[in-house]
Amino acid sequence: MEVNRQILIEAIWETLYMVSIALFFGAILGFILGVTLVVTRKGHILENKPIFSVVNPIVNIFRSIPFIILLVAIIPFTRLIVGTSIGTTAAIVPLVLHVGPYISRLIENSLLEVDDGIIEAAKAMGATPFQIIRKFLLPEAFPSLILSVTTATIGLIGATAMAGAVGGGGLGDVAITYGYQRFDNVTILVTVVILVAIVQLIQSIGNVFERKLRRVR
């Protein structure tokens, strides 16, 4: 059996397109939510119970909805945002809503790892809450944030496989429509190998960055 090269290359591009755009917006969303979750919690620099007790459950809800359900459940919202509910671009909206809350939890964990002493020192210096976040928390958590984003990216690649459900295309879609439904095992194998390679590559890049930033000697 012959694997259609043209289709594969197109699918790779669709996957990369979905992952990169969704990651970009998802990271922004996750970053805002993650920082909010940290600084508004009890005893932290901008303790705010109302905000925390709204954001925290919202993140939990989005984290617990299976992506395939989210994908179809928010179709009206997707149409509102990008004007269509099918196609690669349409798949990006649910991807963002899926990965954003996920990233926010990872960022929350990374920021909470920063020693409280650092915040105390910052306060003693007379830093504003914004400066504490910008100049103390984020630089200290940066290597760990890189790993978080790496993990999120890989999760995102997995989620794009389901984008076929709304005609989003991508490698996962090729594996199902051309491979699984036509009993074409070679196509399945090839797409899986490509996916594994992409994941490996991203993880390695993430690790290299993180190690550089931590200056492991």
């Binding site: 650092i118 105390e120 007379g126």
Partner: protein
């Protein structure tokens, strides 16, 4: 300079209320190296944190140069904090930043030209002796070097107060000494008032001129270091003092007393202040018909004043020995005879000068 007026702090956790500070009254004068000592949980960490409002007092007030920082705006408070440097037990340096960047941090929080920052950072790094480490990262430094970076960072904004929160507790004795010497230089050369909290009496003995002892959130004793060391009023203070000034009589002395009898008298002489030292002993030997034999001695220096005790054996007739004792006894020297068996020691001293008595 720093005045604590009836400062109390209570933490409420669920149904339980923990009183960390209770009616603390304390004044730290300009130029002091003021030491607060206490066991962990005594409230000293909370106390030092009320100075720069890392903890806000539940009641009472803390005045910095007459100003209550709780009554000013947040913006003014941030400005005031530049006048109060702080160093920490675990240094609290940014591991992601170089020594230079760490020290520059307080300056980068407000507007300064790059030139100003560079110049000032180099100046303080030279002061702490780390000018060759500006490009290193904290994890490449030893504990002592990290604390030097901490000190440089605290000094970079030219504060008039330096708060030291167990600054040497994570360091070995040798490094502790060098950091304390550096703190003394900070006090002398920059005229910075230093408030130290610690559980190590060595630290107090080494550099403080005034001291407060804390227990269960209260200041149970405070004063000039010589006064507290020579005449501690409370059990806790006595224990702290005896951890650095060994004034118990060694077993070997008691054994000696069993051998000598009759003509031999063993005396414990406590010194405090300027008249301490050898002249008394040599004069006794010259003036009276007694032989003087020094058995044990422990003299330390507090604020460059000798302080401690000597255990000597006087051999001679009882009347001569008594004359010698009367001669030695003075305002700053206290004598008691050490008597073996049963009662460990009896006060031989008949003067009612109300001075030094240990133990």
């Amino acid at each position: 300079m720093i005045e604590f007026r009836k400062v109390s702090k209570r933490f409420v956790t669920g149904k339980r209320t923990i009183t960390a500070l209770e009616d603390v009254e304390l004044t730290v004068n300009k130029g002091d190296i003021f030491g607060v000592i206490g066991f962990s949980g005594a409230g000293k960490s909370t106390l030092i944190r009320t100075v720069n409002l890392l903890e806000t007092p539940t009641s009472g007030e803390v005045l910095i140069e007459g100003k209550n920082l709780q009554k000013i705006s947040k913006k003014e408070l941030r400005e005031e904090k530049k006048n109060i440097g702080m160093i920490f037990q675990h240094f609290n340096l940014l591991n992601s930043k170089t020594v230079f960047e760490n020290v520059a941090m307080p300056l980068l929080l407000s507007k300064h030209t790059k030139k100003e920052v560079d110049q000032r950072v180099l100046e303080v790094l030279q002061f702490v002796g780390l000018e060759d480490k500006i490009k290193s990262y904290p994890d490449q430094l030893s504990g002592g070097q990290k604390q030097r970076v901490g000190i440089a960072r605290a000094l970079v904004t030219n504060p008039s107060i330096l708060l030291c929160d167990e600054a040497t507790s994570a360091l070995d004795p040798q490094t502790t000494k060098s950091i304390l010497q550096l703190l003394r230089r900070v006090n002398e050369e920059y005229k910075i008032t230093i408030l130290i909290i610690t559980h190590e009496m060595e630290v107090i003995k080494e550099i403080c001129n005034r001291i407060a002892v804390m227990e269960n959130g209260r200041v149970i004793e405070s004063g000039n270091i010589l006064d507290v060391f020579s005449n501690p009023q409370t059990e806790t203070a006595r224990n702290f003092v005896s951890s650095v000034v060994h004034d118990e009589i060694p077993q070997s002395v008691y054994r000696l007393m069993e051998i000598h009898n009759g003509r031999s008298h063993i005396l414990k002489i406590d010194f405090v202040g300027v008249s301490s030292g050898q002249p008394i002993i040599s004069q006794v030997a010259k003036k009276f018909k007694v032989d003087v034999n020094i058995l044990f001695g422990n003299i330390t220096e507090l604020q460059s004043i000798p302080f401690g005790n000597l255990i000597v054996e006087l051999v001679g007739d009882s009347s001569e020995v008594q004359k010698a004792i009367d001669f030695i006894q003075s305002d700053t020297v206290n004598v008691k005879e050490v008597i073996g068996h049963g009662s460990k020691q009896t006060n031989f001293d008949r003067s009612n000068l109300g001075n030094v008595v240990h133990g």
